[in-house]
Every structure is written in C-alpha cells, then in structure tokens.
C-alpha cells in the first residue's frame, strides 16, 4: 500500500465517522423528543374569527404617534442600544404621504397588514412566519432561523430584524437576537380578550374586531364607509384597512 492509499483510507474514515456522528445528532432528538413536545399555545384558536383593524386617518390627529408609543411600550422595541437607526426595529412607523399632483399630504401608521395570502408566510423556509387561524400574522421565534427572506418578500416593509442581544424584555412579548419580528396585533392581549395596544391609544380612530362577523363594528364600518387597502393591486386581502386616504 502506498502512502496515498493510506492517506486516502484515513481521510475517508474520518469523513464517514464525522458524517455518522452528525446524522445521529440530527436524527436522535427528532426521535426522542417529538413525543415530549409541549401542546401548542395556539391550539384553541379557530378560523371562526378573522381579526382586523380599520384606521380612520382623518381622526388620527397625531398621524399615529400615540399608537406607535403604545406599541413600543407594549412590546419594548425602538431603543436597541447598539443598533444604528437603520438597524433599529420598528414594528409600526408613521408614514407621510404627499401626492405628487396636488401636493396634498397626510400621515398614517403602517405596520404588518395581516394579509390573508401573506407573502412572508409563503417564502419562510421553516414555517416560522405563520398566520394563525384567526388571521394574525406573526413570527414563531423558536423556529425563525433569521434568513430575512420574509423581509425581502413583505410589500409593506413591516418587518424588522433584531441585530443584537436584548435585555429587560417585556414578559408578554419576548424578542430575540437574530430573529425577525413585526406587529402581531398584540396577540397576547387579543387572546386575553383585550384590544391591541394601538387601538386603546387611539380609540376614536381605530376599530378592532372580527372581519368574519357581519355584525361586528369593524364589518359595519367597512360596509358603510369607503375604505382602502394599501397596495390593493397585489390582491393580498389585508386585515388592516384604512379610511380617509
């Protein structure tokens, strides 16, 4: 046996050994832990309801500043110490729109639009970007790998990536370094029977409710008023609607 044959045998042995070890590590937890997985927290949620927001821009005197502050307080974003301004998370922001032809302008809060056919859900490789049965689009941070494909796909630029380790997080809304996050309609509050924080901050301008229920305040308002979806041309059937734009 020449030297090369000997090197080759050793090399192949090492490669095969490493591959075997990696395969065992990958498969074993799958076999051993699957039975022990906890019951999903969202198991009781059904598609009987579809939550939505109607924002009347004319009644938002501050353009949504109060809503944004309430959201920051609820979820603890907006002041990540090491991130620069372009890296800092913004779950909702105030967008100023100026029409080119007339010069008329107005401001509105823009956040996740909770699309029925959400592009972020389609592109996510792990299923972390998901839509609950009740229409709330959110990120399962336990399986988000931080690939940011959903950020590329979102037509509303509604998502942020956490660029650093975070401390002092809100117990009801944990955030995680290296994962993507966005407005989740305050799912933790909705599940407890409350309104999203932004709605309570601007009750005169925002209606929250069940889009599937024709008698709900939001459904009534949608039938009685002219309302708009941002980028309606994309046919995403958003859960967030606007009035007065």
């Amino acid at each position: 046996m020449n030297n090369f044959d000997s090197y080759r045998r050793k090399f192949l042995t090492i490669v095969a050994g490493t591959a075997g070890a990696v395969a065992t590590l990958n498969v074993a937890p799958n076999l051993l832990l699957r039975e022990a997985q906890a019951k999903p927290a969202d198991e009781a949620i059904t598609d009987a309801k579809r939550w939505g927001l109607l924002i009347d821009v004319n009644k938002l005197e501050d353009g949504g500043d109060a809503c944004i502050e309430a959201c920051k307080k609820e979820h603890g974003w907006g002041d990540d110490p090491k991130s620069n301004q372009a890296q800092d998370a913004q779950w909702v922001r105030k967008v100023k729109v100026t029409e080119k032809s007339t010069g008329n302008s107005f401001s509105l809060p823009v956040m996740c639009q909770h699309c029925e056919t959400a592009p972020c859900v389609d592109v996510c490789p792990t299923g972390a970007s998901m839509k609950r049965a009740d229409g709330i689009v959110q990120v399962n941070k336990h399986i988000c790998i931080g690939c940011r494909y959903c950020m590329m796909a979102c037509p509303y630029k509604a998502r942020s990536f956490v660029h650093e380790t975070l401390i002092d997080q809100r117990p009801n809304s944990p955030r995680g370094k290296g994962t993507v996050e966005s407005c989740n309609l305050c799912a933790q509050r909705v599940d407890a029977g409350k309104n999203p924080a932004c709605v309570d901050a601007a009750p005169q301008a925002i209606v929250f409710g069940d889009l599937n229920d024709p008698k709900s305040a939001i459904s009534q308002a949608l039938t009685q008023n002219e309302t708009t979806q941002i980028r309606a041309d994309l046919n995403l059937n958003t859960g967030v609607r606007y009035q007065g734009i």
Binding site: Q87, V95, V123, T126, P155, G176, T179
Partner: protein, 398 residues
C-alpha cells in the same frame, strides 16, 4: 465506453512551495471566515453593514456567487456524459469535485450569516415549509451534493456496476442542476413587491450565469493545477473552453437585455431602471463592471484570432468573467434592495424607517471575511481532493 476508462489519473504529486503556498492562502481565508462568523455570531448583526432596509448584504453576494458557480462547474462533467463529448470526459472528475466544493462553500456562507443558526436544527426536526422556494432549495442543494458523490463514484470505480450508473447519473445531475439553478434564481423571481426582482426571467438568467461563471472558474482551476503539476494541457481543451465561454456570456447578455426591457416596458417598474442604469452608484458597477469587464473584454479576448490557442487569454478572460459575475450579483442583490418599496403610487413618502429613499449599504470587514471564508473553504476542499484522490488526468496533451 467512455474515454475516462482509457485516461489515467493521478493525485497531485507537487509538494513544493507552489502548492502549499496556494493551500495556505485559501486556508487563511477559511480561518478569517471562521473568525468573522464567531465575531458576528457573538455580537449580532449590528456589527455588519446590513440593516432593516438592505437585509441581504455581501455574504449573500458571495454565497449566491458560489452556489451559481457550482451548478455551472458541474456542466463540464455532464457535457461529457450526457452528450457523449469524449474530449470533456477526462475533465469530469475535477468538474464534480469543484462543483461540490463550491456548493458547500456557498451554503456555509449562507448558513453562517443566518441570525439564529441554532434554530436550523428545527428544520431537521421537520420545520419545513414546502411553499417556500428556500425550503426546496435546501433539498435541491443537499441532493446535488449527494448526486455528485455517487456520480463521482461511477467515474472513479472501475467495476461494471459503477460504470452502468455513469450515464444515468450524468442525466440526473444534468436535470437536477437545471432545477437547482432555476430555484436559486427564483428566490428573487417571486418577490412581487420588489421592482428589480419581480421578473420571471431571473430563473433563466441565473442558469446562463451559472454556465458562464462555472466554466470560467473551472478553466482557471484546470490551467493552474496543470501548471502546478507540470502536466500537459493540449490546445483542443483550451479551444473548447475558449469557444464555450463566449456562448455563455452572450446568453447572459441576452437574458439581461430581456430582463431590463421587460422592466422598462412594465409601467409599474419604471423607476427601478434609471436607478440601476443611470444613477451613479450602481450604474458604474453595471456598465463598467458587469458589461465592460465581465462581458465585452472577455468576449474580445476569447473571440480575437490574435489570441488563438493562448492560455493567457483564457486565464485572463476567466478572471474578468469571475469579477464581472460577482459585480452582476452585487448589483442584483444590493442594487435591487436599495430601491424603495412603493407603498402609494404617484406619491412621495417619507418616514423614520427609510420609506421612499434610496437605501445605502457598505459591507463591513467581517462580512467580506465571511464571504472570502467560503471561497477559502471551497478551494481548500478542491486542493485536498486533488491531493488525495485521482482527480486530475495525467495528461491532456492533444
């Protein structure tokens, strides 16, 4: 039967400063990449130039560059097998080794840039969304490496069983590559609100680019390793590579033309074309980098009768093509993201979240090191491969 039976192969015997110098160079790149990953992983992505506007940066340019090149590099082997071109058959082993190494290098860069790499284990546990082209690509990429290993076995094992799988594996590899590169291009093709990407032609463009880039890298590797081991490289091979490269360059140019024309004719995409083609930052890269350096100059070097059978011209044009293809991907990935999303038609928008403005990006050192680490890993694998296995024909003299 294939020529590979008649061709004799041997390991790279060269133990001189040339081999170890090159190996050390790529080894250092690999170490730099590992250090950069460690740094970025420890601190988080705030130490990079990436942000919530440009979410994919330089690491993605390197990763997609390597993955696209991988598919093209395997083309040399499939031409030999599927189309029975005997001249190409002795080149097959190196072609597959290079392809697998490029793919692994690219995938590792992609993987190490993830925000939460630890969560990847969830995918092994079944967290896969088959609506996502990304999830499909994971399967396509790992399948590609597996196919290459089996395909290499059919080339290298002398038993009849192995040889009987040679042709079928070549065909599977050929089809698999086609789907794989289409899948890589489609990552961009399905982004409906991104003006620069929402064009079906991204898939075919990536296929053409893979042939061009893969062949260029292969040519460079072939000439270098043959020079290093003082083996004969005949004019026939040089001529084949010289003739095929321009075809691929022209194919890429045609698809680029179609893509830009579609964007110009589709009203809603009007804004993006001036941004890429006439604004200062990206237009210089596009016209000087991709078109002049990456296409026109190599076409001249490859087509000009003056450089007939000239290895230097082949090497130079390969280097230019590689540089051009990298710039092309930079313009596609970074340039495409730099254009703001249109939330409202016929209106100017502004916000604290960079709405309505052209986004800027400059990659930081760790990002470049991570990307270069992928190249380091690729060529460390190639060099180890040709040192340990009989990958290189002892001679390719005419």
């Amino acid at each position: 039967m294939s020529v590979s039976l008649k061709t004799s192969y041997s390991e790279l015997e060269n133990n001189g400063i040339g081999f170890w110098g090159i190996f050390s160079f790529f080894g250092l790149l690999l170490i730099g990449g590992v250090a950069a990953f460690n740094y970025m992983h420890h601190h988080g992505h705030y130490v990079t130039g990436m942000n919530n506007q440009i979410v994919w940066g330089i690491p993605h340019v390197f990763a997609i560059f390597l993955i696209v090149a991988a598919s093209g590099a395997a083309n040399i082997a499939t031409i030999g097998t599927v189309f029975n071109k005997q001249t190409y058959q002795p080149l097959g082993r190196l072609s597959l080794l290079l392809a697998a190494s490029l793919l692994i290098g690219g995938l590792l860069v992609l993987l190490l840039d993830l925000g939460s790499i630890g969560h990847v284990i969830e995918m092994a546990k079944g967290a896969l969304n088959f609506q996502s082209i990304f999830a499909w690509n994971m399967i396509l990429y790992s399948g590609f490496v597996t196919i290459i290993i089996v395909y290499l076995w059919t080339m290298m094992d002398r038993t009849k069983t192995a040889k009987s799988f040679y042709k079928p594996l070549g065909k599977i590899n050929f089809i698999w590559r086609f789907i794989l590169t289409m899948g890589t291009g489609s990552i961009f093709g399905v982004l409906l609100a991104r003006q620069y990407y929402d064009v079906f032609v991204m898939g075919p463009l990536f296929i053409a680019a893979s042939y061009m880039l893969g062949t260029a890298i292969y040519s460079l590797l072939l000439v270098t390793t043959f020079k290093l081991s003082q083996r004969d490289l005949g004019d026939v091979i040089i001529k084949r590579l010289r003739y095929s490269l321009p075809l691929f360059i022209v194919a890429v140019l045609v698809f680029e033309l179609v893509r830009h024309l579609i964007n110009i004719f589709v009203t809603e995409h009007h804004g993006i074309e001036p941004h890429i083609l006439t604004s200062n930052s990206f237009s210089k890269l596009f016209w000087f980098g991709q078109i002049l350096i990456g296409s026109v100059l190599p076409l001249f070097l490859l087509w000009s009768g003056y450089f007939k059978n000239n290895t230097v011209a082949l090497v130079s044009s390969s280097i230019l093509i590689i540089v051009g293809a990298f710039i092309q991907l930079y313009v596609i990935i970074i340039g495409g993201q730099s254009y703001p999303l249109v939330l409202f038609q016929n209106a100017d928008i502004s916000s604290s979240f960079a709405d309505g403005v052209f986004n800027t990006y400059s990659g930081t050192l760790p990002e470049y090191l991570l990307g270069l680490g992928g190249i380091g890993l690729t060529f460390c694998m190639v060099l180890i491969g040709i040192k340990i296995f009989r990958m290189l024909p002892t001679s390719l003299a005419d």
